[in-house]
Protein backbone atom coordinates (compact mmCIF):
# COMPACT_ATOMS: atom_id res chain seq x y z
CA UNK A 1 0.00 0.00 0.00
CA UNK A 2 2.77 2.38 1.07
CA UNK A 3 4.73 1.42 -2.03
CA UNK A 4 1.76 2.29 -4.24
CA UNK A 5 1.40 5.68 -2.62
CA UNK A 6 5.07 6.38 -3.22
CA UNK A 7 4.61 5.43 -6.84
CA UNK A 8 1.68 7.83 -7.17
CA UNK A 9 3.71 10.64 -5.63
CA UNK A 10 6.59 9.92 -7.99
CA UNK A 11 4.23 9.85 -10.92
CA UNK A 12 2.73 13.21 -9.98
CA UNK A 13 6.23 14.64 -9.60
CA UNK A 14 7.26 13.31 -12.98
CA UNK A 15 4.18 14.57 -14.78
CA UNK A 16 3.74 17.99 -13.20
CA UNK A 17 6.60 19.15 -11.07
CA UNK A 18 9.77 18.02 -12.78
CA UNK A 19 8.97 19.34 -16.27
CA UNK A 20 7.95 22.66 -14.72
CA UNK A 21 11.19 22.77 -12.81
CA UNK A 22 13.25 21.99 -15.87
CA UNK A 23 11.52 24.03 -18.60
CA UNK A 24 9.29 26.34 -16.61
CA UNK A 25 10.00 30.00 -17.06
CA UNK A 26 10.45 31.91 -13.83
CA UNK A 27 7.93 34.68 -14.44
CA UNK A 28 9.57 36.97 -11.91
CA UNK A 29 12.71 37.04 -14.05
CA UNK A 30 10.97 37.75 -17.39
CA UNK A 31 11.20 41.44 -18.34
CA UNK A 32 7.87 43.23 -18.48
CA UNK A 33 6.23 44.65 -21.59
CA UNK A 34 7.06 48.19 -20.48
CA UNK A 35 10.68 47.27 -19.90
CA UNK A 36 11.11 45.62 -23.30
CA UNK A 37 9.25 48.43 -25.06
CA UNK A 38 11.47 50.98 -23.35
CA UNK A 39 14.59 49.19 -24.64
CA UNK A 40 13.13 49.19 -28.13
CA UNK A 41 12.19 52.88 -27.91
CA UNK A 42 15.69 53.74 -26.73
CA UNK A 43 17.35 51.73 -29.48
CA UNK A 44 15.06 53.31 -32.09
CA UNK A 45 15.51 56.86 -30.77
CA UNK A 46 17.59 58.06 -33.72
CA UNK A 47 16.31 59.14 -37.11
CA UNK A 48 17.90 56.00 -38.53
CA UNK A 49 20.42 53.33 -37.51
CA UNK A 50 22.39 53.01 -40.71
CA UNK A 51 25.81 51.45 -40.27
CA UNK A 52 28.25 53.98 -38.86
CA UNK A 53 25.66 56.75 -38.54
CA UNK A 54 24.96 58.51 -35.21
CA UNK A 55 21.70 56.65 -34.53
CA UNK A 56 23.41 53.29 -34.86
CA UNK A 57 26.48 54.30 -32.85
CA UNK A 58 24.13 55.43 -30.09
CA UNK A 59 22.27 52.10 -30.22
CA UNK A 60 25.59 50.22 -30.01
CA UNK A 61 26.50 52.10 -26.82
CA UNK A 62 23.05 51.46 -25.41
CA UNK A 63 23.28 47.71 -26.01
CA UNK A 64 26.81 47.63 -24.59
CA UNK A 65 25.64 49.45 -21.44
CA UNK A 66 22.67 47.08 -21.11
CA UNK A 67 25.00 44.05 -21.26
CA UNK A 68 27.16 45.67 -18.56
CA UNK A 69 24.12 46.37 -16.37
CA UNK A 70 22.96 42.75 -16.70
CA UNK A 71 26.35 41.58 -15.46
CA UNK A 72 27.46 39.81 -18.61
CA UNK A 73 31.17 38.99 -18.83
CA UNK A 74 33.73 39.32 -21.64
CA UNK A 75 31.70 42.12 -23.17
CA UNK A 76 33.14 43.14 -26.50
CA UNK A 77 32.62 46.14 -28.74
CA UNK A 78 34.55 45.37 -31.87
CA UNK A 79 34.94 47.86 -34.72
CA UNK A 80 34.45 47.04 -38.38
CA UNK A 81 35.56 49.61 -40.93
CA UNK A 82 33.19 50.61 -43.69
CA UNK A 83 32.62 53.25 -46.33
CA UNK A 84 29.70 55.48 -45.41
CA UNK A 85 27.59 56.36 -48.44
CA UNK A 86 25.41 59.40 -47.86
CA UNK A 87 23.03 61.04 -50.33
CA UNK A 88 22.74 64.82 -49.97
CA UNK A 89 20.25 65.70 -52.70
CA UNK A 90 18.27 63.82 -55.28
CA UNK A 91 15.51 64.62 -57.73
CA UNK A 92 13.91 63.58 -60.98
CA UNK A 93 12.61 66.39 -63.17
CA UNK A 94 10.76 65.26 -66.29
CA UNK A 95 10.57 67.65 -69.25
CA UNK A 96 7.53 67.07 -71.40
CA UNK A 97 5.14 69.01 -73.60
CA UNK A 98 3.58 70.64 -70.52
CA UNK A 99 6.89 71.82 -69.13
CA UNK A 100 9.02 70.48 -66.28
CA UNK A 101 7.48 68.22 -63.65
CA UNK A 102 9.35 66.98 -60.59
CA UNK A 103 8.32 63.49 -59.60
CA UNK A 104 8.91 62.55 -55.93
CA UNK A 105 11.81 60.12 -55.73
CA UNK A 106 14.22 58.46 -53.34
CA UNK A 107 17.83 57.50 -53.92
CA UNK A 108 18.92 53.97 -54.62
CA UNK A 109 21.42 53.01 -51.95
CA UNK A 110 25.12 52.92 -52.82
CA UNK A 111 24.64 53.88 -56.46
CA UNK A 112 26.71 56.42 -58.37
CA UNK A 113 26.62 60.17 -57.78
CA UNK A 114 25.87 62.68 -60.53
CA UNK A 115 27.36 66.18 -60.94
CA UNK A 116 25.40 68.95 -59.16
CA UNK A 117 23.40 69.63 -62.32
CA UNK A 118 22.57 65.94 -62.69
CA UNK A 119 22.49 63.83 -65.82
CA UNK A 120 19.97 64.50 -68.56
CA UNK A 121 18.66 62.04 -71.09
CA UNK A 122 15.67 60.72 -72.89
CA UNK A 123 13.54 58.37 -70.78
CA UNK A 124 13.19 54.83 -72.09
CA UNK A 125 10.67 52.44 -70.53
CA UNK A 126 11.95 48.87 -70.35
CA UNK A 127 9.12 47.06 -68.50
CA UNK A 128 10.87 44.59 -66.17
CA UNK A 129 14.28 45.14 -67.75
CA UNK A 130 14.82 41.63 -69.09
CA UNK A 131 17.52 40.90 -71.68
CA UNK A 132 14.77 40.96 -74.35
CA UNK A 133 13.54 44.35 -73.13
CA UNK A 134 17.05 45.75 -73.47
CA UNK A 135 17.43 44.19 -76.92
CA UNK A 136 14.25 45.91 -78.08
CA UNK A 137 15.34 49.40 -77.00
CA UNK A 138 18.34 51.65 -77.29
CA UNK A 139 19.26 53.01 -73.87
CA UNK A 140 22.69 54.36 -74.70
CA UNK A 141 23.01 57.88 -73.27
CA UNK A 142 19.45 57.65 -71.93
CA UNK A 143 17.74 57.08 -68.61
CA UNK A 144 16.24 53.62 -68.23
CA UNK A 145 12.85 53.40 -66.53
CA UNK A 146 12.31 49.91 -65.14
CA UNK A 147 9.59 48.26 -63.07
CA UNK A 148 11.06 46.61 -60.00
CA UNK A 149 9.37 43.34 -59.10
CA UNK A 150 9.36 41.55 -55.76
CA UNK A 151 8.96 37.83 -55.29
CA UNK A 152 5.87 36.44 -53.58
CA UNK A 153 5.88 33.43 -51.31
CA UNK A 154 2.73 31.30 -51.49
CA UNK A 155 2.01 29.89 -48.04
CA UNK A 156 0.29 26.63 -49.00
CA UNK A 157 2.99 25.19 -51.32
CA UNK A 158 5.60 26.31 -48.81
CA UNK A 159 3.70 24.48 -46.09
CA UNK A 160 3.43 21.25 -48.05
CA UNK A 161 6.86 21.13 -49.60
CA UNK A 162 9.24 22.92 -47.29
CA UNK A 163 7.80 23.05 -43.82
CA UNK A 164 7.82 20.89 -40.72
CA UNK A 165 4.58 22.28 -39.35
CA UNK A 166 2.28 25.25 -39.10
CA UNK A 167 1.06 26.62 -35.79
CA UNK A 168 -2.05 28.64 -36.56
CA UNK A 169 -4.74 27.82 -33.98
CA UNK A 170 -6.94 30.73 -35.08
CA UNK A 171 -6.99 29.40 -38.66
CA UNK A 172 -5.92 32.70 -40.16
CA UNK A 173 -4.29 31.40 -43.36
CA UNK A 174 -6.36 30.74 -46.44
CA UNK A 175 -5.29 28.22 -49.07
CA UNK A 176 -4.33 31.00 -51.46
CA UNK A 177 -2.52 33.38 -49.09
CA UNK A 178 0.87 34.61 -50.16
CA UNK A 179 3.53 36.76 -48.60
CA UNK A 180 5.18 39.50 -50.67
CA UNK A 181 8.94 39.37 -50.23
CA UNK A 182 10.11 42.96 -50.65
CA UNK A 183 13.71 41.98 -49.95
CA UNK A 184 13.77 39.62 -52.94
CA UNK A 185 13.97 41.64 -56.13
CA UNK A 186 13.15 39.61 -59.18
CA UNK A 187 15.14 41.74 -61.62
CA UNK A 188 18.04 43.05 -59.60
CA UNK A 189 19.66 39.86 -58.55
CA UNK A 190 22.90 40.66 -56.80
CA UNK A 191 24.22 37.14 -57.30
CA UNK A 192 25.95 38.55 -60.36
CA UNK A 193 28.59 39.77 -57.94
CA UNK A 194 29.69 36.22 -57.41
CA UNK A 195 32.07 34.78 -59.91
CA UNK A 196 30.29 33.52 -62.99
CA UNK A 197 27.09 35.39 -62.10
CA UNK A 198 24.56 36.03 -64.83
CA UNK A 199 24.08 39.77 -65.28
CA UNK A 200 21.02 39.28 -67.47
CA UNK A 201 19.10 38.80 -64.20
CA UNK A 202 20.19 42.24 -63.09
CA UNK A 203 18.43 45.00 -65.01
CA UNK A 204 20.73 47.51 -63.29
CA UNK A 205 23.84 45.85 -64.71
CA UNK A 206 22.21 45.46 -68.10
CA UNK A 207 21.62 49.22 -68.05
CA UNK A 208 25.32 49.79 -67.33
CA UNK A 209 26.30 47.40 -70.09
CA UNK A 210 24.02 49.11 -72.60
CA UNK A 211 25.37 52.59 -71.77
CA UNK A 212 22.46 54.14 -69.85
CA UNK A 213 23.27 57.31 -67.88
CA UNK A 214 20.83 56.53 -65.08
CA UNK A 215 18.11 54.20 -63.90
CA UNK A 216 14.68 55.08 -62.55
CA UNK A 217 13.08 52.18 -60.70
CA UNK A 218 9.31 52.01 -60.28
CA UNK A 219 8.44 50.13 -57.09
CA UNK A 220 5.42 48.44 -58.65
CA UNK A 221 5.08 45.75 -55.96
CA UNK A 222 5.72 47.93 -52.91
CA UNK A 223 2.38 48.63 -51.20
CA UNK A 224 1.33 52.32 -51.13
CA UNK A 225 3.15 55.07 -53.00
CA UNK A 226 6.21 54.88 -50.71
CA UNK A 227 9.50 55.35 -52.53
CA UNK A 228 12.00 55.16 -49.65
CA UNK A 229 13.16 51.65 -50.45
CA UNK A 230 16.52 51.05 -48.76
CA UNK A 231 18.08 48.32 -50.87
CA UNK A 232 20.02 46.49 -52.15
CA UNK A 233 22.13 46.61 -49.00
CA UNK A 234 25.02 44.46 -50.10
CA UNK A 235 27.57 47.11 -49.09
CA UNK A 236 28.90 47.30 -52.64
CA UNK A 237 29.38 50.77 -54.15
CA UNK A 238 27.93 50.94 -57.63
CA UNK A 239 28.66 53.29 -60.51
CA UNK A 240 25.36 54.15 -62.19
CA UNK A 241 23.07 56.72 -60.49
CA UNK A 242 19.59 55.42 -59.73
CA UNK A 243 16.38 56.58 -58.06
CA UNK A 244 13.19 54.93 -56.85
CA UNK A 245 9.64 56.09 -57.58
CA UNK A 246 6.52 55.02 -55.70
CA UNK A 247 4.20 52.84 -57.77
CA UNK A 248 1.56 55.53 -58.32
CA UNK A 249 4.12 58.18 -59.23
CA UNK A 250 5.71 55.59 -61.47
CA UNK A 251 2.37 54.94 -63.15
CA UNK A 252 2.02 58.68 -63.75
CA UNK A 253 5.44 58.69 -65.41
CA UNK A 254 4.51 55.69 -67.54
CA UNK A 255 1.29 57.45 -68.59
CA UNK A 256 3.34 60.49 -69.66
CA UNK A 257 5.73 58.27 -71.58
CA UNK A 258 2.84 56.58 -73.38
CA UNK A 259 1.89 59.92 -74.92
CA UNK A 260 5.29 61.42 -75.66
CA UNK A 261 9.00 60.74 -75.34
CA UNK A 262 10.08 62.96 -72.49
CA UNK A 263 13.57 63.62 -71.29
CA UNK A 264 14.51 63.96 -67.66
CA UNK A 265 17.23 65.27 -65.39
CA UNK A 266 18.29 62.90 -62.67
CA UNK A 267 20.20 64.36 -59.73
CA UNK A 268 21.88 62.29 -57.03
CA UNK A 269 24.68 63.92 -55.13
CA UNK A 270 26.35 62.84 -51.92
CA UNK A 271 29.53 61.76 -50.25
CA UNK A 272 31.47 58.67 -49.40
CA UNK A 273 33.68 58.67 -46.33
CA UNK A 274 35.38 56.19 -44.04
CA UNK A 275 33.24 55.04 -41.15
CA UNK A 276 33.12 52.43 -38.43
CA UNK A 277 30.41 50.20 -36.98
CA UNK A 278 30.66 47.86 -33.99
CA UNK A 279 29.69 44.31 -33.12
CA UNK A 280 28.62 43.95 -29.51
CA UNK A 281 28.69 40.71 -27.56
CA UNK A 282 28.56 39.52 -23.98
CA UNK A 283 28.82 36.16 -22.24
CA UNK A 284 26.95 34.33 -19.49
CA UNK A 285 29.05 31.31 -18.52
CA UNK A 286 27.23 28.09 -17.75
CA UNK A 287 28.00 24.60 -16.47
CA UNK A 288 29.24 23.59 -19.92
CA UNK A 289 31.59 25.33 -22.34
CA UNK A 290 29.19 24.51 -25.15
CA UNK A 291 27.73 27.73 -26.41
CA UNK A 292 24.26 28.77 -27.47
CA UNK A 293 24.64 31.93 -29.50
CA UNK A 294 21.66 34.28 -29.20
CA UNK A 295 21.77 37.01 -31.82
CA UNK A 296 20.14 39.77 -33.82
CA UNK A 297 21.41 42.86 -35.65
CA UNK A 298 21.24 46.40 -34.35
CA UNK A 299 21.29 48.50 -37.52
CA UNK A 300 18.26 49.64 -39.57
CA UNK A 301 17.49 51.76 -42.64
CA UNK A 302 15.15 54.14 -40.80
CA UNK A 303 13.61 54.10 -37.30
CA UNK A 304 13.65 50.33 -37.53
CA UNK A 305 11.19 49.32 -34.83
CA UNK A 306 10.65 45.93 -36.43
CA UNK A 307 13.96 45.96 -38.35
CA UNK A 308 15.37 45.14 -35.83
CA UNK A 309 14.40 47.02 -32.71
CA UNK A 310 12.22 44.15 -31.53
CA UNK A 311 14.90 41.58 -32.42
CA UNK A 312 17.34 43.44 -30.18
CA UNK A 313 14.57 43.75 -27.59
CA UNK A 314 14.40 39.95 -27.50
CA UNK A 315 18.19 39.56 -27.21
CA UNK A 316 18.18 41.99 -24.27
CA UNK A 317 15.19 40.17 -22.72
CA UNK A 318 16.98 36.84 -22.87
CA UNK A 319 20.22 38.37 -21.61
CA UNK A 320 18.45 39.90 -18.65
CA UNK A 321 16.44 36.76 -17.90
CA UNK A 322 19.38 34.37 -17.97
CA UNK A 323 21.63 36.81 -16.10
CA UNK A 324 19.27 36.30 -13.15
CA UNK A 325 19.60 32.51 -13.36
CA UNK A 326 22.51 31.29 -11.20
CA UNK A 327 25.50 30.02 -13.20
CA UNK A 328 25.11 26.63 -11.53
CA UNK A 329 21.66 26.35 -13.14
CA UNK A 330 22.68 27.45 -16.62
CA UNK A 331 23.36 24.26 -18.51
CA UNK A 332 25.18 25.95 -21.40
CA UNK A 333 27.28 29.06 -21.86
CA UNK A 334 25.20 31.75 -23.49
CA UNK A 335 26.74 34.31 -25.84
CA UNK A 336 24.58 37.31 -26.70
CA UNK A 337 25.50 38.99 -29.95
CA UNK A 338 24.26 42.21 -31.56
CA UNK A 339 25.75 42.27 -35.03
CA UNK A 340 26.55 45.39 -37.02
CA UNK A 341 26.10 46.07 -40.69
CA UNK A 342 23.21 43.87 -41.69
CA UNK A 343 22.59 46.78 -44.07
CA UNK A 344 26.19 46.71 -45.17
CA UNK A 345 26.29 43.27 -46.74
CA UNK A 346 26.22 41.66 -43.27
CA UNK A 347 29.89 42.52 -42.96
CA UNK A 348 29.52 42.77 -39.19
CA UNK A 349 28.58 39.16 -38.52
CA UNK A 350 31.08 37.92 -41.09
CA UNK A 351 33.89 39.80 -39.35
CA UNK A 352 32.77 38.63 -35.91
CA UNK A 353 32.56 34.97 -36.91
CA UNK A 354 36.05 35.17 -38.36
CA UNK A 355 37.41 37.01 -35.32
CA UNK A 356 35.93 34.44 -32.93
CA UNK A 357 36.44 31.33 -35.01
CA UNK A 358 38.70 29.82 -32.35
CA UNK A 359 36.57 30.56 -29.31
CA UNK A 360 32.85 31.19 -29.56
CA UNK A 361 32.35 29.73 -33.01
CA UNK A 362 34.25 26.55 -32.25
CA UNK A 363 32.18 25.87 -29.15
CA UNK A 364 28.82 26.95 -30.59
CA UNK A 365 26.26 24.15 -30.64
CA UNK A 366 23.29 26.30 -31.66
CA UNK A 367 22.54 29.77 -32.97
CA UNK A 368 19.17 31.22 -32.02
CA UNK A 369 18.87 34.23 -34.31
CA UNK A 370 15.89 36.52 -33.82
CA UNK A 371 14.69 39.09 -36.37
CA UNK A 372 11.48 41.13 -36.74
CA UNK A 373 9.42 40.08 -33.72
CA UNK A 374 5.92 41.24 -32.72
CA UNK A 375 5.31 42.68 -36.19
CA UNK A 376 1.80 43.71 -37.05
CA UNK A 377 0.55 42.99 -40.56
CA UNK A 378 -0.22 46.14 -42.54
CA UNK A 379 -1.89 46.11 -45.94
CA UNK A 380 -2.60 48.85 -48.44
CA UNK A 381 -6.17 50.15 -48.14
CA UNK A 382 -8.42 51.68 -50.81
CA UNK A 383 -6.89 55.12 -50.21
CA UNK A 384 -3.46 53.76 -51.03
CA UNK A 385 -2.25 54.00 -47.42
CA UNK A 386 -0.95 51.39 -45.00
CA UNK A 387 -3.62 50.03 -42.66
CA UNK A 388 -3.41 47.50 -39.82
CA UNK A 389 -5.03 44.26 -41.01
CA UNK A 390 -5.58 43.16 -37.42
CA UNK A 391 -3.35 40.13 -37.91
CA UNK A 392 0.24 39.48 -36.96
CA UNK A 393 2.85 39.04 -39.65
CA UNK A 394 3.57 35.49 -40.73
CA UNK A 395 6.42 34.17 -38.59
CA UNK A 396 9.03 32.06 -40.29
CA UNK A 397 11.09 29.67 -38.21
CA UNK A 398 13.97 28.44 -40.36
CA UNK A 399 15.47 25.53 -38.46
CA UNK A 400 18.15 22.93 -38.98
CA UNK A 401 16.82 19.42 -39.31
CA UNK A 402 16.58 18.15 -35.73
CA UNK A 403 13.50 16.71 -34.07
CA UNK A 404 14.47 18.22 -30.69
CA UNK A 405 14.24 21.72 -32.20
CA UNK A 406 10.84 20.97 -33.63
CA UNK A 407 9.57 19.63 -30.31
CA UNK A 408 10.98 22.56 -28.34
CA UNK A 409 9.46 25.09 -30.73
CA UNK A 410 6.12 23.32 -30.79
CA UNK A 411 5.99 23.22 -26.98
CA UNK A 412 6.92 26.89 -26.67
CA UNK A 413 4.46 27.99 -29.36
CA UNK A 414 1.65 26.04 -27.72
CA UNK A 415 2.44 27.47 -24.31
CA UNK A 416 2.66 31.07 -25.51
CA UNK A 417 0.16 30.97 -28.37
CA UNK A 418 2.41 32.59 -30.93
CA UNK A 419 0.13 31.88 -33.88
CA UNK A 420 0.84 32.28 -37.59
CA UNK A 421 4.13 30.43 -37.12
CA UNK A 422 5.43 28.44 -40.06
CA UNK A 423 8.33 26.18 -39.10
CA UNK A 424 10.33 25.47 -42.24
CA UNK A 425 13.57 23.94 -43.43
CA UNK A 426 16.62 26.17 -43.72
CA UNK A 427 16.48 25.78 -47.49
CA UNK A 428 12.79 26.66 -47.77
CA UNK A 429 13.49 29.82 -49.78
CA UNK A 430 16.70 28.85 -51.52
CA UNK A 431 20.17 27.56 -50.82
CA UNK A 432 20.37 29.45 -47.55
CA UNK A 433 17.99 30.89 -44.97
CA UNK A 434 17.33 34.63 -45.17
CA UNK A 435 18.80 37.00 -42.57
CA UNK A 436 21.90 36.90 -40.43
CA UNK A 437 21.69 33.21 -39.52
CA UNK A 438 22.85 32.19 -42.96
CA UNK A 439 26.40 32.99 -41.91
CA UNK A 440 26.40 30.71 -38.87
CA UNK A 441 24.63 28.10 -40.98
CA UNK A 442 27.47 28.31 -43.51
CA UNK A 443 29.91 27.39 -40.74
CA UNK A 444 27.89 24.33 -39.88
CA UNK A 445 26.41 25.72 -36.66
CA UNK A 446 22.84 24.42 -36.28
CA UNK A 447 20.32 27.25 -36.35
CA UNK A 448 16.92 28.28 -35.16
CA UNK A 449 16.24 31.43 -37.10
CA UNK A 450 13.08 33.41 -36.39
CA UNK A 451 12.17 36.03 -38.97
CA UNK A 452 9.13 37.78 -40.39
CA UNK A 453 8.95 39.84 -43.56
CA UNK A 454 6.45 42.68 -43.45
CA UNK A 455 6.37 44.89 -46.54
CA UNK A 456 7.21 48.02 -44.53
CA UNK A 457 10.52 46.58 -43.39
CA UNK A 458 12.78 48.38 -45.86
CA UNK A 459 10.91 51.68 -46.11
CA UNK A 460 10.36 54.60 -43.75
CA UNK A 461 7.03 53.17 -42.54
CA UNK A 462 8.74 50.85 -40.02
CA UNK A 463 7.60 52.89 -37.06
CA UNK A 464 6.39 52.29 -33.49
CA UNK A 465 2.80 51.54 -34.54
CA UNK A 466 4.02 48.40 -36.30
CA UNK A 467 4.98 46.78 -32.99
CA UNK A 468 2.37 44.83 -31.05
CA UNK A 469 3.50 45.36 -27.43
CA UNK A 470 1.20 42.59 -26.20
CA UNK A 471 3.35 40.08 -28.07
CA UNK A 472 6.70 41.07 -26.58
CA UNK A 473 6.50 39.08 -23.35
CA UNK A 474 4.99 35.94 -24.95
CA UNK A 475 7.69 36.10 -27.62
CA UNK A 476 10.45 36.51 -25.03
CA UNK A 477 9.01 33.61 -23.05
CA UNK A 478 8.91 31.48 -26.20
CA UNK A 479 12.61 32.02 -26.88
CA UNK A 480 13.51 31.51 -23.22
CA UNK A 481 11.66 28.19 -23.13
CA UNK A 482 13.35 27.02 -26.32
CA UNK A 483 16.79 27.86 -24.92
CA UNK A 484 16.01 26.19 -21.59
CA UNK A 485 14.71 23.01 -23.18
CA UNK A 486 17.54 22.68 -25.69
CA UNK A 487 20.20 23.56 -23.11
CA UNK A 488 19.60 20.18 -21.52
CA UNK A 489 20.73 18.34 -24.63
CA UNK A 490 24.25 17.27 -25.51
CA UNK A 491 26.19 18.55 -28.52
CA UNK A 492 25.43 15.29 -30.33
CA UNK A 493 21.72 15.63 -29.67
CA UNK A 494 21.76 19.23 -30.89
CA UNK A 495 23.59 18.39 -34.12
CA UNK A 496 21.66 18.93 -37.32
CA UNK A 497 20.82 16.06 -39.61
CA UNK A 498 20.89 16.35 -43.39
CA UNK A 499 17.68 17.72 -44.84
CA UNK A 500 15.46 15.35 -46.72
CA UNK A 501 15.24 16.03 -50.44
Amino acid sequence: MFRNKMLYVLLVLLVFVIPQGVFGVDETKVPTTDEIMQWIDDICAGENRRPGEPGDLQAEDYIYDAFVSFGLSDIGKEPVEITKWRADSWSLVVSGADGDVEIPSFYTLNTGFTPEEGVTGELVYLCGGSAEDFEAADVSGKIAVIDMGFATLPVFPLLLLKSYFLYDPDKTFSWWDSQPATWARTNWNTDYLEEGGDISKSAYDMAIKEGAVGVVWILKDQPTNINSYYAPYDGVMKELPALYLGKYDGQMLKDMMAQETPSATLVLTGTMSPGVMHNIHGVLPGKSDEIILISSHHDAPFKGYIEDGTGMGMVLSLAKYFSQVPESEREKTLVFFASAGHFYGSKGIEAWLEEHSKDYVEDAVLNLNIEHVAARDFQENDEGEYEDSGLMQTRGWFISNNSHYRDAIRNALNANELGRSLVVTITALGKEPPGEARFTNRLGIPIIHYISGPTYLLVDADTRDKVNPDELVPAARTFIEIVEELSLLSEEELAAEAEEE
Partner: protein
Protein backbone atom coordinates in the same frame (compact mmCIF):
# COMPACT_ATOMS: atom_id res chain seq x y z
CA UNK B 1 -36.87 5.63 -62.16
CA UNK B 2 -36.90 8.69 -64.35
CA UNK B 3 -36.47 10.88 -61.27
CA UNK B 4 -33.43 8.92 -60.12
CA UNK B 5 -31.91 9.14 -63.57
CA UNK B 6 -32.32 12.91 -63.55
CA UNK B 7 -30.83 13.26 -60.08
CA UNK B 8 -27.83 11.06 -60.84
CA UNK B 9 -27.26 12.87 -64.11
CA UNK B 10 -27.38 16.32 -62.47
CA UNK B 11 -25.09 15.20 -59.65
CA UNK B 12 -22.63 13.85 -62.20
CA UNK B 13 -22.74 17.12 -64.13
CA UNK B 14 -22.03 19.26 -61.07
CA UNK B 15 -19.38 16.87 -59.73
CA UNK B 16 -16.41 19.00 -60.90
CA UNK B 17 -17.84 22.05 -59.13
CA UNK B 18 -18.49 20.35 -55.79
CA UNK B 19 -14.86 20.10 -54.57
CA UNK B 20 -14.28 23.72 -55.59
CA UNK B 21 -17.34 24.71 -53.59
CA UNK B 22 -15.95 22.73 -50.67
CA UNK B 23 -12.70 24.74 -50.83
CA UNK B 24 -14.73 27.96 -50.82
CA UNK B 25 -16.77 26.75 -47.86
CA UNK B 26 -13.59 25.77 -45.98
CA UNK B 27 -11.12 28.40 -47.20
CA UNK B 28 -8.69 28.13 -44.30
CA UNK B 29 -5.65 25.89 -44.15
CA UNK B 30 -6.58 25.16 -40.55
CA UNK B 31 -9.85 23.62 -41.80
CA UNK B 32 -8.06 20.83 -43.64
CA UNK B 33 -9.92 18.17 -41.66
CA UNK B 34 -13.31 19.63 -42.55
CA UNK B 35 -12.27 19.84 -46.18
CA UNK B 36 -11.06 16.25 -46.16
CA UNK B 37 -14.39 15.07 -44.74
CA UNK B 38 -16.25 17.13 -47.33
CA UNK B 39 -14.16 15.55 -50.09
CA UNK B 40 -14.93 12.04 -48.82
CA UNK B 41 -18.66 12.87 -48.76
CA UNK B 42 -18.47 14.32 -52.27
CA UNK B 43 -16.63 11.25 -53.54
CA UNK B 44 -19.29 8.95 -52.07
CA UNK B 45 -22.12 11.02 -53.54
CA UNK B 46 -20.55 11.28 -56.99
CA UNK B 47 -19.65 7.60 -57.12
CA UNK B 48 -23.21 6.73 -56.08
CA UNK B 49 -24.52 9.09 -58.75
CA UNK B 50 -22.36 7.77 -61.56
CA UNK B 51 -23.00 4.11 -60.73
CA UNK B 52 -26.70 4.90 -60.48
CA UNK B 53 -26.57 6.64 -63.84
CA UNK B 54 -24.80 3.74 -65.48
CA UNK B 55 -27.27 1.23 -64.04
CA UNK B 56 -30.34 2.98 -65.38
CA UNK B 57 -31.87 0.64 -67.93
CA UNK B 58 -33.53 3.24 -70.10
CA UNK B 59 -31.59 3.97 -73.24
CA UNK B 60 -29.83 7.31 -73.03
CA UNK B 61 -26.23 6.64 -74.06
CA UNK B 62 -25.40 10.33 -74.61
CA UNK B 63 -26.55 11.20 -71.13
CA UNK B 64 -24.54 8.34 -69.67
CA UNK B 65 -21.36 9.30 -71.50
CA UNK B 66 -21.58 12.99 -70.62
CA UNK B 67 -22.54 12.22 -67.02
CA UNK B 68 -19.68 9.73 -66.67
CA UNK B 69 -17.10 12.16 -68.10
CA UNK B 70 -18.20 14.96 -65.76
CA UNK B 71 -18.29 12.59 -62.80
CA UNK B 72 -14.78 11.33 -63.57
CA UNK B 73 -13.47 14.89 -63.71
CA UNK B 74 -15.23 15.60 -60.42
CA UNK B 75 -13.78 12.48 -58.82
CA UNK B 76 -10.30 13.42 -60.00
CA UNK B 77 -10.50 17.00 -58.66
CA UNK B 78 -12.06 15.82 -55.40
CA UNK B 79 -9.40 13.15 -54.96
CA UNK B 80 -6.60 15.68 -55.54
CA UNK B 81 -8.09 18.19 -53.10
CA UNK B 82 -8.75 15.43 -50.60
CA UNK B 83 -5.17 14.20 -50.86
CA UNK B 84 -3.79 17.72 -50.46
CA UNK B 85 -5.98 18.39 -47.45
CA UNK B 86 -4.90 15.07 -45.94
CA UNK B 87 -1.27 15.97 -46.55
CA UNK B 88 -1.90 19.39 -44.97
CA UNK B 89 -3.29 17.69 -41.88
CA UNK B 90 0.11 16.13 -41.26
CA UNK B 91 1.57 19.65 -41.06
CA UNK B 92 -0.87 21.43 -38.79
Amino acid sequence: MKGKKTITFILSLVAPVLPILAVLVFPRIGSALELLIACIVILCVVLWAVTGLLRVQEKAPGMKIIGTIFACVGVLITAIIGLLSGWTMTKI
